[in-house]
Symmetry: C2
Amino acid sequence: MADSGLKNMIDEIFHPRSIAVIGARSNESMENDGWVSRLVAFGFPGTIYPINPKASEIMGLRAYPTIMNVPGSVDLVIFNVPFRISDRIMADCAAKGVKFAHVFTAGFSETGKPEGIRLQNEIERIAKEAGIRVIGPNCMGLYYPKGGLTFGRLLSNKPGPVAFVSQSGASASRVVAQGTERGIYFSKVVSYGNAIDLDGTDFIEYLSSDPETQVIASYIEGVKDGRRYFNVIRECTRKKPVIALKAGITEGGSRAAASHTAVLAGSEIIWDAFFRQTGVIRVSDLEELLDMAMAFIYLHRPAGRRVGIVGRGGGLGVVATDMCETAGLKVPPFHLETQKRLEQLIPDAGTSARNPVEPDRGLAAWAAFYEEGLKAIDGDPGIDIILTHLGIDIYGGIGDRLNQSLDETIAILLKLSKQLSKPLVIVLYAGGRAETINAVLLAQQKCLEAGIPVYPSVPSAAKAISRFIGYHEFLDRKAGKPK
Amino acid sequence: MADSGLKNMIDEIFHPRSIAVIGARSNESMENDGWVSRLVAFGFPGTIYPINPKASEIMGLRAYPTIMNVPGSVDLVIFNVPFRISDRIMADCAAKGVKFAHVFTAGFSETGKPEGIRLQNEIERIAKEAGIRVIGPNCMGLYYPKGGLTFGRLLSNKPGPVAFVSQSGASASRVVAQGTERGIYFSKVVSYGNAIDLDGTDFIEYLSSDPETQVIASYIEGVKDGRRYFNVIRECTRKKPVIALKAGITEGGSRAAASHTAVLAGSEIIWDAFFRQTGVIRVSDLEELLDMAMAFIYLHRPAGRRVGIVGRGGGLGVVATDMCETAGLKVPPFHLETQKRLEQLIPDAGTSARNPVEPDRGLAAWAAFYEEGLKAIDGDPGIDIILTHLGIDIYGGIGDRLNQSLDETIAILLKLSKQLSKPLVIVLYAGGRAETINAVLLAQQKCLEAGIPVYPSVPSAAKAISRFIGYHEFLDRKAGKPK
C-alpha cells in the first residue's frame, strides 16, 4: 500500500461521519456503560446508529433491527455481537457498503479452537472482498478525544500529544487512565487485537506523519510482517520518539500471547537487537512507558547528563545518587562557588552542600531553601538538570500543616521553575498513608499544570531522564553529529 | 567482645529504666514534636528527664538545668544539642555515670571539616574512657514500639517481627512509616549514623538471636570491620533472612555516603560477591526492601516455583507472565482437568483458561469466578503458588459501585484464602485516581489483616516471591539437601 493511501485511509477511520453499533444493548444509559453511551458521553459529532432487533430507541437515538435498515451510509461499524454470528454481520456490512469495522467481539483464533479460527478466516475473507478495513477482532478499538471517540467513558476527553498503539485493550485502557492522571494526554489511541487487517505497523506509519502526535508509544505482542515493521520503525524514530513494550518475551509469556492475540511472539534476541538498532525506547511495563512519555512531553533537552540533586534525608540522597548514576547520569560535586552559596542556606551542621544537597527539616525550611538554592544550582556551569525529591511520606507532617506547607513549597517551586534555565524534575514520595497520597495527588496536579514533570520515585525519574537524553544522542548519531 | 556480653549490653539499650533528653525544647507539646513528647506519646514506661537550663517543666515533667542535677541514675541519654558543645555534654554524662548515649546531634566527621572531625574524636574518646556505649552521632536512634521508644511520633506503636538496622535516619523513618501501612510491623529498629562505637554489625549480631525478631532488614553505607561483618552475616543468614540495601555503590553515591556518614563505601564487586556468598537478599531501594519483608512475614514456602496467574486483561496477563518468568518463576499451562473446570467459569469467548486465566469483565464477575476458580487452581498438581492481579484502576468502576464490588471481591478472597493449601498473593493496581487509590488502601488493609500478602504491582510481587523461594533454596544448600 502506498504511504499516502494508508495515511488518508487511517485518517478516515479516526474521522467517521457515522458509526453503527451492532449489538447495542437496549438498557444502555449514562449510568449503564456501553458503546453507544460512550460515544454520546464523549460528544461524538457524527451520526450514531444503534443496531438491536429488540429495541426501537437506545440512549434517545433511533435503533434499527439490522444495519441494512439504516437509512444513511455508515462509515464505521462497531461489532458488539456474539462471535458465532460475526460472519453474518460482516456479510451485512459488506452489503451495506460499510468502510471500516472495529470488531470488539472476541473468541477467534486466540482461542486456538477450530470454530474460532474458521470464523476469523471467514470475516477476514468477507471484509477483504468487500474492501472493508478492519480493526481487530478482539480489541477495544479507538480513543480519539478530539474526535469524540472512546473505548471507555471514564477516560479524559482532553487531547494531547501522545499516541498509543496497543495490541492489548486492557493496556490501552490503563495507559490512558493512568496517563491522564499523570498529566499525559493523548492524540490517538488504538487497540487492535488479532489484527486480521490493520496492525500496529500500519498505525505507527500513519502516526509518524500525524501532526497531532509528537510521541508514539506502543504495546506489541507480535507483528505480521517483520521486515515492514523494521522499516517503518526505523523511519519513524528519526522523526518522533517511539516507546515500546514488547510482551511475550519469555517462554510462558510467549504462550500467553498466543492465547491472547494468536501471535508468534518471536525471539527475544532478535527483538532486543531490533530495538537497539532502530533507537526504540524499550520499556518493561506500562508505568515505565508512562515515565518515558512524561519525559518527552515535559522536558527540554539538557546540555548533558550532570544532575544536581536536592532533597531532605542524607541516606535518601545517597540512594538517589546511586539511582541516577546506575541509570547513566552523573552526580558530580557542585562548583565551589555553588557549595559556598548553598552552605549559607542549609542548617549549621549535619547536611552536605556538595551534591546532593539537603535542606533543613520540615516543609517550611524546604520552601525557604528552594527560593535561593535552586537558583544557585541553576547557575552552576557543571550541572545540566535539577532533580528534587520531596519525601512527603516522612517529612510532610499531618493535617492542616501537611496541606498548607506542601502548598507553600509547591508554590515556590512553580514560581522558580519559570526562572530556571535548566530542566527541573520533581519526585514526590507519597508513601502509603491516604492523607499524604491525597495531598501529593493535588500537588502533582499543580506541578503538571505548570509544565513541571513529576515522578513517583527517584529510580523512575532517573531512568526516564537518562533514556530521554539517550534518544537525543541517538538522533545526533544518525545526523552524523560528533559526540 | 564476647557474644553474650554484646547481646546483654544491646538488650539493655532497648530497655532503659530512665532517659534524659539533653536539649529538650521548652515549647514541646503533643502538637509540637520533640524527643520528650515522642517518649510520652509512645508511653515509655521508665523515667524521662528533660534537660534544659531555661525551663522548669516540659510536657508536665520536671526539667533540670544539666544532667548533673538529675536526682536518679540515667541509663540512656539523647543528645539534642549543638555539636559544638557535644564534648562538654559527653563529659557531663561521664561524670554522671550514664550507660548509653544516643547522639542525635550531627555536624561531625561527615562534614569533612576539621572542627567536626576533632569533636567526633573527642566525644569518642570521652565515651570510651567512661565506658559509655554510643549510638551515632548523626542518627535517629531507637524505635522499639514494645518498649515505648521511638524517633517519630506518627509511627505505629504496634510491634511485629521485622528488625531494621539502618545507617540512615530518613531510611529508618520511611521503612517504618511505609512498612506499617503495608502491614509490616517492627520488633526493633535502629538508625546508627556515623557509628563511632556501636555499628550495624553489632546490632545484626544482637538481632540474630533476638527472639522478638524473625527477619532482619538493613540499610548500610559502609562497615568498620569487614571481616567481622562477613562472619556475623554468614552466621545470621543461616538463622534468619537478612535483607540489605547497600548504598554508595556508584562513584557519586560513594562520595555522597562520605558526606553523609563519613564512611568508605567500598568496592561494588566485593560487596556483590559478599552478598551472594552469604545468602543476603540484596535490594536496590526501600520499596523493594519492604516487598521482601512482606514475603518473609506473610508467605509460607511453596513446593516450587510454578505460578498460577489469575487476572482480568489479556495483555496484562501476558506482561504478568513475562514478569514472573523474568523474575525466575515459571508459568506453565494448567493441567487439562483444571483448564476444563476453569472454562466452565469464564465467558464464552475471548479469554483463555490455560494460565494465565482471565475472569469475565467487572468486579461482580471476578467474585463469582474466584469462588470456584481459585479452588480449581489450588487443586492443580502442577501449580505451587497462586497470584491474582486486580486492576482496580481500570475495572473497578466509580462511586458506590467501586466500593461495594471491591468489598464483595475481597470478602470472597479472604474466605477462600483459608481454604487454599497453596500460598495466595494479591496484586492490587490502584492507578492514579484518588478514588481508586483510597478504595485499594482499604481493601489492602483487609487482606493484610487476614494474613494475605498484597503487592502494588506484578513485578514487585514476582521478584519478592522468587527471592523468598531463593532464600529457602540457599538454606537447603547450606544444609546439604539435594536440589
